[in-house]
């Protein structure tokens, strides 16, 4: 549904996006993950036709972004990072205006607004001025304006940024409820957002593609080793030596009170590690699987992983 081929964007000397290639399958939610200034917003702006690319190709819903911009704009719903709202309009007035400029036929406009209000959960505030509603509702209005013309593709730039935890959960539920009807590409720098909401991910850093694929694919391809990361009350050489003594454990490395315990694939020594930690009362605070997407992302961000 979204296909990007060798996309490059330069702002003068600065290269914001470098030779980016990825693909999003229809009806799925894909995350565009990267630290700040990784090129996420630039990529989205190119896909939505706000910015032209310096080189490369992109197609959305079968239309070429550069040669058929109007067709692309008609089949895309876009929530920019700064939610575009006219504060002096009412929620339904604003959605009506967006329906008009997104070329929803006059006869269907009312229904389109009602549907968007309904699915974004805006019923209670639809007659209020946008400047008087809360941040979370403003974000919902942003999503409502993106889905107003029932686009095949949704591009959401940092949809949960700046919201409180309850609002974040609500917005994530809202996005999940749109799965299937729409193909969604959402950008974020928060990893849990990807693991909770998305089916797949494109990880970029400094404009370069680091990894892309469905979550299962990625997990499999990066798991050369199995293991756990163990967070203890107090970590050190003593604890590391104890863990190293477990049969099958190949490597233990300590970083503060976090110990990384590795063994070769195919075995599962988690029980043994936990038992040891309990027996010797090492004070387990946390134990998580190694080679999770989180580790991958941390490696990407800290620059330890080459594309």
């Amino acid at each position: 549904m979204i296909e990007v081929q060798g996309l490059t964007k330069k702002y003068g000397e600065l290269v914001a996006v470098r030779d980016l290639t990825f693909k999003v399958e229809p009806g799925r939610i894909w995350g565009l993950l990267g630290p700040n200034a990784a090129g996420k917003t630039t990529t989205m702006r190119i896909l939505t036709g706000y910015l032209p690319a310096t080189a490369g190709q992109a197609t959305v819903a079968g239309f070429d972004v550069f040669n058929e911009p109007d067709a692309v704009k008609r089949s895309i719903g876009y929530l920019p990072e700064v939610v575009p709202l006219y504060l002096d309009m009412t929620v339904s007035g604003f959605l009506g205006f967006v329906a008009e400029i997104k070329q929803v036929p006059a006869a269907k406009r009312k229904a389109a607004v009602a549907r968007a209000v309904e699915s974004a959960g805006l019923k209670d505030v639809s007659h209020r001025l946008i400047k008087n509603i809360s941040r979370g509702f403003k974000q919902r209005v942003g999503i409502a304006q993106a889905i107003i013309h029932d686009p095949k593709v949704l591009v959401l730039d940092e949809p949960t940024i700046g919201l409180d935890p309850a609002q974040i959960r609500e917005i994530r539920e809202l996005i999940k409820s749109l799965r299937g009807e729409h193909t969604i590409l959402l950008s974020t720098h928060i990893l849990p957002e990807v693991t909770q909401v998305c089916d797949g991910v494109v990880i970029i850093n400094e404009g370069r593609l680091m990894a892309s694929g469905s979550l299962e694919e990625l997990a499999a391809s990066f798991e050369r080793k199995d293991g756990v990361i163990l967070k203890l009350r107090r970590g050190g050489a003593e604890e590391a030596a104890l863990l190293r003594a477990i049969p099958g454990v190949e490597k233990v490395s300590a970083e503060g009170n976090e110990l990384r315990v590795e063994w070769s694939r195919g075995r599962d020594l988690r029980d043994d590690v936990a038992r040891l930690a309990l027996d010797k009362s090492l004070g387990i605070q946390e134990m998580r699987s190694l080679a999770s997407i989180e580790d991958l992302y941390m490696k990407v961000v800290s620059g330890g992983l080459e594309p």
């Binding site: 706000y50 032209p52 895309i76 876009y78 920019p80 700064v82 006219y86 002096d88 309009m89 400029i101």
Partner: protein, 255 residues
């Protein structure tokens, strides 16, 4: 066409959902009303004196003595008012990030700009239309000629349309409304008085400068003379302003 209409409606709504429209229109009406009143008082006093003398009595002319100076005053007020109408048109969209919504919708830059331009024109027409009500008194109690009155208003509208096009251009350059308004004001004032230097110059320079000046082309219209070259001047100036605004927006997106 439908897209231009959608944007136009939205912009007119924006004028009236903020205090701008009310403040600007009422201020404009207050000033014009005051000028009209003082001109009529002066005209009465003059007419009284002139009527004593049969030669001068022939020359009493309400068009020349009231409307012509009134139109000149109004053109100066428009120089102050036009920047207020245009400053937010493109600058605010950029500042609030709503330009991203417009430019990712299936609209052309031309449609966006024209929608905004026409919305400001509607405001201008409404303002001028309301001042025309004042003239009812002059028509009810006197006998002014209608033709110079009509061409005077046409001149004001054309000149205002030019002001708005220039304001739109400056609004496209910046996201700061005050900067946009001030640059518009400076430019308009400069073009209005461009013919001052022309009077002491000579040859080609003189004719170029006085041709470019707003006031030169307005002069005839307040006297009831409708010359196509004046109309063409204002229309081409407006077109130029819109074209510049269009180029600025277009180039910004391609940078």
């Amino acid at each position: 066409m439908k897209n231009i209409w959608s944007l136009m409606k939205k912009e007119i709504g924006a004028y009236f959902s903020s205090p701008i429209a009310y403040v600007v229109i009422s201020g404009f009406l207050l000033l014009v009303g005051y000028f009209f009143y003082s001109l009529v008082l002066w005209f009465n006093a003059q007419a009284m004196q002139m009527a004593q003398n049969p030669y001068y009595a022939q020359q009493i002319n309400i068009n020349e003595m009231v409307f012509s100076p009134l139109f000149h005053n109004m053109s100066i007020i428009l120089i102050l008012v036009a920047p207020l109408l245009t400053m937010r048109l493109l600058a605010e969209e950029k500042k609030s990030g709503t330009d991203e919504l417009l430019y990712t919708s299936p609209l052309s830059v031309g449609q966006i700009i024209l929608g905004k331009y026409f919305a400001a024109l509607v405001m201008l027409a409404a303002m001028l239309g309301l001042t025309a009500l004042l003239s009812i008194f002059a028509f009810a109690f006197g006998n002014p000629e209608i033709a110079p009155w009509l061409t005077g208003y046409l001149g004001l509208f054309l000149m205002g349309a030019t002001f708005i096009a220039i304001g739109l251009f400056f609004s496209s350059l910046t996201e700061n409304q005050i900067v946009a308004a001030f640059l518009t004001f400076v430019t308009l004032l400069l073009f209005l008085v461009l013919n001052w230097v022309a009077s002491s110059g000579s040859g080609t320079w003189q004719s170029v400068l006085s041709y470019l000046s707003f006031s030169q082309h307005f002069e005839d219209m307040t006297r009831g003379i409708l010359d196509t070259k004046d109309v063409v001047y204002y229309l081409s100036f407006s077109f130029f302003g819109i074209f510049l605004a269009h180029s600025v927006i277009q180039s910004r997106r391609w940078r």
